[in-house]
Symmetry: C2
Subunit: 432 residues, 2 copies
């Protein structure tokens, strides 16, 4: 039962579909499949958060653009004044640019890669101007898309901002700020370890294991009615105090969502504001965004900051460009340059290479909930399952935002046809 409750609204579920056997992007187009269309929709076209059907491919391709049709949410208000308007100078050459996918000797065009990756939306900024912008499937220019774990990057950036401002001391511990965390794994974990996910946690995100802790976390955050036999925690925070330590903090990068949720809790405790409010006030409004974003919430109104954000693509691009411009955007210094410098300097590569990413993303690092490639362009990214990303290439003065609904959750399936494609575009833009 716990598993079912968790499954219901888990945002980054590992869908057990082999993409090789799945419908293609064109075949799985939501408009073609007719999810939730008709008055009323036919019974077999109704998808729901209750039975988890909304998060199974290909229904997922519809749901990612309509998360709040299935779940309670809270606003991240966009700007109401000083809205930013991008300049657009489309580059017709990009579609035919080619790159070599990882582990392949067959060049692929950029345009081909979009369908291969079940892209719902993609936008490329070069020197701050839109040079490429496409919408597929269910995504509309004025709509939103689930950001999945790109959500983490916003919480991490807000946490790092508070460190820069001296509101948080990165050497203090979770328990220093939230006494309730004292007996949990976060009790003696420092803010820095939490921000960089080098905490040692007894916490498995192995979805194939019914006893994995992820299910208990998900059940706690599930906003729908619990079964009468359920006696576990009833919101995210009540779950976080139960997390136990495993190993030593500070040594190994362990990509675990609950670090973000505990970071969100600490931020809210010290500022007295929810992450939704803070993200709106400090970032979304100053950027001049156009479309309200939103977080899914648990039964206590607490946002799922580890994965529950949905936002508009151009608004996401504003955020990426602001970071690329060292915190300055829309005629304001929104974040201090030192914060961006800290992200770009990266995290502990040694700790990263001891993680499960040691092969696929060798020599990368993780800092303030950003992924740092340490490649020759100094590229870094926000990344979420099913293909979500904000990819920033400082040398190429390029920002890419991608929303996608790839049949499988793991980015390891998507990276081979996306990361080399981004790098190829970057090299092309430099050469222009």
């Amino acid at each position: 039962m716990k598993t079912i409750i968790g499954l219901v609204f888990l945002m980054f579920i590992c869908v057990e579909i082999n993409a090789q056997e799945a419908l293609t992007a064109e075949q799985s187009d939501p408009a073609k499949l007719g999810w939730m269309q008709g008055f009323p929709p036919p019974k077999d076209k109704i998808i729901s958060a209750i039975d988890g059907s909304f998060f199974r491919f290909p229904a997922l391709r519809y749901s990612v653009c309509h998360m709040r049709q299935f779940m309670p949410t809270t606003e991240v208000n966009a700007a109401t004044t000083n809205r930013y308007e991008f300049k657009v100078t489309l580059d017709r050459n990009i579609d035919t640019l080619t790159f070599l996918p990882w582990n392949s000797s067959e060049p692929q065009t950029w345009k081909e890669s979009l369908a291969k990756n079940y892209t719902d939306g993609i936008l490329i900024l070069h020197k701050g101007k839109i040079v490429y912008e496409r919408y597929f499937g269910e995504l509309k220019p004025d709509g939103v898309h689930a950001a999945m774990s790109v959500s983490k990057t916003f919480t991490g950036t807000l946490g790092a901002l508070l460190v820069e401002q001296g509101v948080l001391d990165e050497n203090k511990t979770g328990a220093d700020y939230i006494p309730e965390l004292k007996n949990s794994a976060f009790g003696d974990a420092t803010i820095r370890q939490i921000l960089d996910m080098t905490t040692g946690l007894k916490y498995s995100e192995d979805y194939s294991d019914p006893n994995a802790e992820i299910w208990a976390f998900s059940a706690a955050g599930n906003p729908f009615p619990k079964s009468s036999s359920y006696d576990g925690p009833t919101n995210y925070y009540d779950y976080l105090v139960t997390v136990q330590k495993e190993g030593v903090h500070g040594e190994v990068f362990g990509y675990k969502t609950i670090n973000t949720d505990v970071m969100g809790w600490i931020i809210s405790r010290v500022t007295g504001k929810s992450i939704s409010e803070l993200l709106s006030e400090r970032i979304w409004k100053p950027l001049g965004t156009h479309v309200d974003g939103y977080f899914q919430v648990d039964g206590a109104g607490i946002a799922f900051v580890g994965g529950g954000f949905s936002a508009n693509m151009r608004d996401m691009a504003m955020f990426g460009e602001m970071i690329r411009k060292n915190g300055k955007f829309n005629k304001q210094q929104i974040l201090p340059p030192s914060l961006v410098e800290d992200i770009m300097n990266g995290g502990n590569q040694e700790a990263f290479n001891q993680s499960v990413y040691s092969t696929s993303l060798r020599n990368w690092s993780y800092r303030n909930m950003w992924w740092i490639t340490h490649n020759e362009h100094g590229a870094f990214a926000a990344r979420g399952v099913h293909g979500q990303t904000i990819y920033i290439d400082p040398l190429a003065e390029m920002v890419i935002v991608r929303f996608a609904s790839y049949p499988e959750a793991k980015n390891s399936k998507i990276d081979p046809t996306s990361l080399p494609a981004y790098h190829a575009i970057a090299k092309y833009l430099i050469s222009k």
Copy 2:
């Protein structure tokens, strides 16, 4: 169980609180009571749609501004271009204007009436300019508020628009447009009878009766998981086909929410669009509204058009002013003047006087889901429980929008200190 399921998300529940014994507006201020405040909120400050606590006074005073924090919703997108900006010329005299509440010999000031009515927001337009605008409790200028049955007026207006355009024939029946309705009470009810709620329906909205049909309707539309023993309809439309006839259509006004929901279904069937989409395209965007509104939805994504709309106060005022100006607003003819004329001419007063409103609202009528006062100013209104209204006084060139969270649902408790107050303001504005 059916009752509990229904109770959960019912939007126009008759809260059994005697306002005389309730906390005052000041005492029940949500910020003071701390609903959903804190990280996490204290257990006794957590309110929820699941147990119905979000809709009980005084928690209701918080929830009305945050409905989507508790329930799945669907957008009514605001304008993204040509946004309308009101001119503001505040009139300082309004607060001290006095009126005589119904059945009272003690004059009350306008300002006093606001607290008496648990006003969350109130806005007065005179000749299109804002002359009065106040926000109380949880409502913020850029926020939204539950419109309750004011929602009906939007569906009714869209239905009447389709009649004006010849898309719907007001003499055809529900079954002519939706064959599935053939064996229901709506099968032989005309579009006109549905729009004016003169249908004869075996349908009770008596909340004190556990067998009242309202509970079955609510259970069907409840987006949360049903109990395993539940075998009733699982969305609004599947319920509507089960409604049985009682009496004769066309003779008596019977204010029953399901007329609106069936009207919404008919509109969607003939246009191929949801009410959310249509309201946005045909009205909300042309008006130049600023804030996305939203409808709560059932498990099939169908909006609760009979009562589930939430919107921004200034945006509501734009709608009211557009109607007052015979359909023209923001430099566009948004609705045909003939439609507004049809509303203002009113409905069948004889049918109205045979309803439960024959005493309290003697000689009023109901047309296209608007309430027509037939007073000497020709005033007419959209009305929702707990004190929601858009009140239009053509002679005074006045539009009032009120959002409120009165402890009791019934407007009969609120009318004595609001309707005479509106009329007093109208007379003052005429005399200015």
